[in-house]
Amino acid sequence: MFFQVAGEIPNIQPETIFMIGNFPVTNSFLMINLITVLLVIFLVWFNRNLKIKPQAMQTVIEMFLDSIMRLIDQITGKRSVSEKIFPMITSLFIFVGIANLIGLIPGLTSITVNGFSIFRTPTTDFNTTFSIALVMIVLIQIQSIIDWGIFGYIGRFIQVRGIIEGFKKGLGEGMIAIINFLIGLLDIISEIAKVVSLSVRLFGNIYAGEILMVIILGAFAYALPAVWLGMNLFTGIIQALVFGALTAAYYGTALKEEN
């Protein structure tokens, strides 16, 4: 017993701390708001200290942003596309990164009201991961519509013209066009599946990490959790990176070939 710390396995659903009318304010929602407030404070400070001749902090931030730009460059293969999606991917990376790691700050998730933690790691709440994935996929679809035009965009999924043109060329071409038409319909499901796959991947990884943390603390509370904490840090960054890289890749496929 001396070597073990009993903890409760975090609930899969976020706990409602209080209600505003019909709207439930959950602990993960409070944490997102805390992140937003911290971000605003940081941005005010950052903008005040932004100089042409950079200080140490500004240099670190510039290097960080530059490395993300290089990573996006590797995925898209073209700087003009990278510059277009840079704000989106970087915001995503920063937010997911902070959301994954903020829960690791000791004590932050231990503040409780009525037996519930006020703050909960936002990415252990499916609502958060789902909405981030949804934002990304919606923004990608908007950009795709801008790029292809509304008819071009619809034509990517419902390839009726392909069937007509295929049968004009011959029966074989026509049959291939029918297969392409069906593949196009499958692509609609694939677009929806992207939201599910992105959100469930992130949610599953981070939530599982928290559950394992409790289990490890329950098994042996010394040294071993520290290793797992380090692993969680690593996982948090990796998951943010995976999320960002996949979004960039989806974005790349949503644009026209010449891009």
Partner: protein, 176 residues
Amino acid sequence: MITHESNYLYNSMDIMEILGKIGFDWRMALANFVNFLIIFWLLKRYAFEPVKKVINQRQSEINKGLEDAEKAQTELVMAKENYEKKMSEARAEAGEIITKANEQAENIITKATKQAEEKVAVIVADARESIKHERENMERELQAKTVSIALEVASKILKTKLDEKTEANLIKELTK
């Protein structure tokens, strides 16, 4: 292989129920959706754009600095060339002035020497003339004096004294 329970689960639960089991709530999802858009806008407006602006400003200043340095280098080379040219011109001019000054000095010396020589010649000639005159005068005086003495001697010898008028005529006659 699908078990009886899982088959039951699969049949009885619709997608919203499954999502509800993992805590999905469309109100929360919508709130998070808006929250993330706000964070995205904040970062874009107050982090990425200012950083991009600062980096571009820095880049343009570096470019301007490099251009200025290049321009300054070109100007320096040109100034050096100009200086060398001016210096060589000045040297040539100075050489010319010195040569002219030497020539002038030589001319002046030559002229002065010539003038001096002429003057000397004139002075010498005048002196000679003067000496000649003096000599002639002296000779004449000496001759007159000699005649006077001779007449004095002659009168003493003859014991007769010539009157003054005769003596003067005689001297005049003898010194012609």
